[in-house]
């Protein structure tokens, strides 16, 4: 066991964990945030996608020891407030993207990571960034939603390049403010 510190959705965490435990199980079982899903355990499907310093990672095969001192963001930390959705969530909702919904947290995290870097992605950008598996086949709606969310984010002036030091990266994320907690 070793003590690991990192921030999760802006809140400082200090945990005593086996260092080889995948981040996914720490998030789901120890920190009780169940929005991030277990799909394959091998980093193949992306249902477990979270952000590490703004980068999408597949937490089912990412040892928790590697997140020490880093900032982790999950689906629970995407919306700017309890009353407001992230633009990606908003268009996902309006487009009725989810079916069973199980993979959608991971899909949204992948989309947010893409759009916070590039809010006018080409089809090729979307093809390569959105590689998560959806067994229900929501792909056509995901493609449409990613484009719409990009337009929305352009209009809101949300985004540009992600700056790991800025924390909130100009986006609706409020990590910086809460990180002292």
């Amino acid at each position: 066991m070793s003590v690991i510190e990192f921030t999760l959705n802006g809140r400082q965490q200090r945990l005593d964990v086996e260092s080889d435990t995948p981040l996914l199980w720490v998030i789901r079982e120890q920190l009780s945030l169940t929005g991030t899903k277990f799909g394959c355990g091998k980093g193949l499907c992306g249902a477990c996608t979270v952000h590490l310093d703004g980068q999408p990672i597949r937490s089912c095969s990412f040892p928790v020891s590697l997140v020490a001192g880093k900032r982790i963001r999950t689906i629970e930390g995407v919306a700017p407030s309890a009353e407001q959705l992230h633009p990606v969530q908003q268009v996902w909702l309006e487009g009725s993207v989810p079916q069973c919904g199980y993979c959608q947290s991971g899909q949204i995290m992948a989309a947010v990571a893409l759009l916070e870097r590039n809010n006018a992605p080409s089809d090729a950008d979307i093809d390569s960034a959105m590689s998560n598996i959806c067994r229900c086949g929501t792909y056509p709606r995901i493609r449409t939603a990613v484009k719409r969310a990009g337009e929305l984010m352009q209009g809101q002036g949300v985004v540009g390049l992600f700056d790991p030091r800025a924390g909130a990266n100009g986006g609706p994320d409020s990590e910086q403010k809460e990180s002292q907690a």
Binding site: K37, W92, Q99, C100, G137, P140
Partner: protein, 721 residues
């Protein structure tokens, strides 16, 4: 069992301060108490209730697994009550006999029947509730109900004043619940047939939707299992020295022919399971591989089998005989949420948190597995992270119950993806012989013979054991299984019962008595039989030198829905005018009372097949939520594309070769074609949409590949030589 509408609606009852509107299946145990209910709970025993605060609660009787029942069925209720669907509180219904499907006799989500079989019941149920509140308002206002209307959970007077449901509940309880209130005129529908956002979307975009795997209770431990990789095999002996040393591991024992590891969380349990050294008894399927399976199917094809359909005169079958063999492999369902269940056993209650398509079967099998009365078992059904038929089989729940009983603590059993791919109840492998006679450019006969296992024969013992009274000896379910095998329509559905017309049609089937676990996979027998039929129809069209659309239209009755969707898809897809470099294929199929036709535009580079566009036309009666219908067509097309281009479960020495998404690959966004869905306008009652979009895809694609290359691919997944 035949029920009049009146009989159906006898069960209106007032309980616990609210009003519950229920439907009782006369003589089918309508008196059964609602599990866990108490008078103060306000928990209903049927579809609808009004809480004392005036909120309308809908007990969703079917599992939401992506197919949209959460939205569709709630919309039906909301329409009759003239209130927004989003204002209704939706709860996953607990088991009650009133929630059994009238056709299947079980509380089951499958067969694409949720809307078809609940549409009228739910409209009537909601209309009765509305009428009850109207009567209550009339009583309170001492006026005639005729001038009052129900709207937004209130009853509105002609002068515009409104009384909310909350203020009417007590009065309503003094009145007799109406049984056959007048239904809304479809011309007045405000919500049915209109576009609306899915009601479960908000929870699903915020990560707050609860699936079985997200459930937890205090003191619960996590279990994983190592099952024999050889299907049907079991553990002989195991060494757990290394496994026991892993921190967090609490218990390791043999159960169900496998080894269970119980630990403080998933990761220590998984690590310990991987550290086990196990010697297996490979079981009856040892030595079985693909070559032997095919050889066995070819032997069976020589048998006469059972005749399923024979139409017309055999003497009409004149001319040149054409005979070809088609094949499909086994397939795993692999829903994104791996099978899992949380079971907590106390002295008088067994609670199960899981996602299941068959909550009443779960009750029966859990009671049998841990030897407790069925009345003690409560199933807390959750959102299903995909079903596709996998969650019709409760094997994973039985495992969890047995482990929970053994360790004496609440246990959450979680399957790995490897467990899922290697221990499914698979879409069976099937082989078929398609034949025809062609005389003078005219097809004079159409024949088909399938070799395939019986799914019902395999699964009936499970369902029957759960459904039969507990005191019946186990021999009864077993004999029912024998009966089911004999009448298993899935072996030829979509082949023997199409509306194609030829002078002579003969359909036969030979049962493959394999012990391989097989199950219901999205669209079941149609998933292979449409591929056989619609590919072979294409072959025949080319054989007689006709256009594949025109040839089909010529052999389908003009008044049929299949004729309509085929005409529509040909027009919408601009049949015959594919963009340069692309080639078109078509297929049209009836399944689950709906008709779907698809045109695929594809191209071929080297040996790679690229799908550019799929145009789909569907007739599904009244589209309650057209957007859900479109999404289900998109879903089935992509599910079908994965199967047509990629998926194959193969056996070697009786074990499944594939194990995870690296070798059981799925279509991804980058490979997804443009999809266009057209719905035939209809005012007929709604029919299925979850499954019927799948069957035409594979043959339409295979036919497009033929158009592109001249190669007739008669095996799935499609592979160019």
């Amino acid at each position: 069992m035949s029920l009049s509408r009146r009989e159906f609606f006898k069960g209106g009852a007032a309980i616990g301060g609210g009003i519950a509107i229920g439907l009782t299946l006369t003589g089918c145990g309508g008196q059964t108490a609602y599990p866990g209910a108490s008078a103060s709970d306000l928990r209903p025993n049927a579809f609808l209730q009004v809480r004392p605060d005036g909120v309308v609660v809908f007990q969703l009787p079917r599992a939401e697994m992506g197919q949209g029942v959460y939205t569709g069925l709630t919309t039906v209720v909301a329409e009759e009550l003239s209130m927004p669907a989003s204002a209704i509180v939706v709860e996953h219904a607990y088991y009650h006999p009133a929630f059994r499907d009238a056709e299947f006799g079980m509380m089951m989500t499958g067969g694409s029947v949720s809307l078809r079989n609940n549409y009228t019941i739910l409209r009537q149920s909601a209309a009765n509730l509305g009428e009850w509140m109207r009567q209550a308002a009339a009583t309170q206002l001492n006026t005639d109900a005729a001038g009052l209307r129900v709207e937004n959970a209130a009853v509105v007077s002609p002068d515009g004043s409104a009384i909310g449901f909350a203020a009417l509940v007590e009065t309503a309880k003094t009145l007799t619940a109406p049984e056959d209130a007048e239904l809304k005129n479809p011309a007045d529908f405000q919500q049915i047939g209109k576009e609306s956002v899915r009601l479960d979307a908000l929870a699903k975009v915020t990560g707050t939707a609860t699936f079985g795997i997200d459930c937890n209770v205090p003191g619960a431990v996590t279990a994983v299992m190592r099952r024999c990789p050889h299907l049907g095999g079991r553990v002989k002996r195991f060494d757990d020295n290394a496994a026991k040393a892993i921190k967090g591991v609490q218990d390791i024992f043999e159960i169900n022919g496998a080894v269970a590891v119980v630990a403080s969380g998933y990761w220590p349990a998984r690590k310990a399971a991987d550290a086990l050294e196990i010697e297996w008894d490979k079981g009856a399927l040892a030595g079985l591989d693909e070559a032997k399976l095919l050889a066995h199917h070819r032997e069976l094809l020589l048998e006469d089998g059972r005749n399923v359909a024979e139409i017309g005169d055999e003497k009409s079958a004149i001319g040149e005989r054409v005979e070809v063999e088609y094949r499909v492999p086994m397939l795993s369902h692999s829903p994104m949420e791996p099978p899992n269940a949380l079971v907590s056993i106390s002295s008088d209650k067994v609670e199960v948190w899981t996602g299941s398509q068959v909550p009443d079967t779960v009750i029966g099998v859990v009671a049998a597995a841990i030897d407790c009365p069925r009345e003690q078992v409560v199933v807390h059904n959750q959102m299903l992270g995909g079903g596709f038929g996998r969650r019709l089989v409760p094997d994973y729940i039985v495992e969890a119950a047995k482990i929970a009983k053994q360790v004496g603590k609440p246990v959450k059993l979680v399957w790995s993806r490897e467990d899922d791919v290697q221990h499914d109840y698979y879409r069976p492998a099937a082989t078929a012989l398609l034949s025809a006679t062609v005389d003078n450019g005219r097809v004079t006969s159409f024949g088909g013979k399938t070799v395939v296992p019986s799914i019902m024969g395999r699964l009936m013992p499970i369902f029957a054991e759960a459904a039969m009274p507990e005191w019946l000896p186990p021999a009864i379910p077993r004999s029912l299984a024998g009966l089911a095998r004999h009448f298993d329509t899935s072996m030829t559905e979509g082949l023997g019962d199409t509306n194609y017309r030829f002078p002579y049609i003969k359909i036969d089937t030979v049962r493959d008595e394999t012990p391989i676990p097989v199950g219901f996979w999205r669209s079941v027998g149609h998933s292979q039989n449409a591929f056989f039929t619609e590919s072979f129809m294409d072959e025949l069209a080319h054989k007689v030198g006709q256009d594949p659309v025109a040839f089909r239209l010529q052999h389908i009755p003009e008044e049929s829905n299949r004729y309509r969707v085929l005409k529509m898809v040909a027009e919408k897809a601009q049949w015959g005018q594919a963009p340069a470099g692309q080639f078109q294929g078509v297929a049209a199929h009836d399944a689950f009372h709906s008709s779907v036709a698809q045109v695929v535009n594809a191209s071929v580079k080297g040996n790679a097949i690229q799908v550019h566009k799929v145009v789909c036309a569907v007739h599904c009666g009244l589209a309650v939520n057209p957007d859900v219908v479109r999404s289900q067509m998109e879903s089935a097309i992509i599910f079908g594309l994965t199967a047509a281009l990629k998926s194959k479960i193969t056996l070697d020495d009786g074990r499944v070769v594939q194990s995870n998404f690296h070798d059981y690959t799925m279509l991804k966004l980058a490979e997804t074609p443009e999809i266009e869905v057209h719905i035939v306008p209809s005012s007929e009652p709604p029919t299925g949409v979850g499954e019927p979009g799948l069957p035409p895809l594979a043959p339409a694609l295979a036919n497009a590949v033929f158009a592109a290359t001249g190669q007739r691919l008669r095996e799935l997944p499609l592979k160019l030589a």
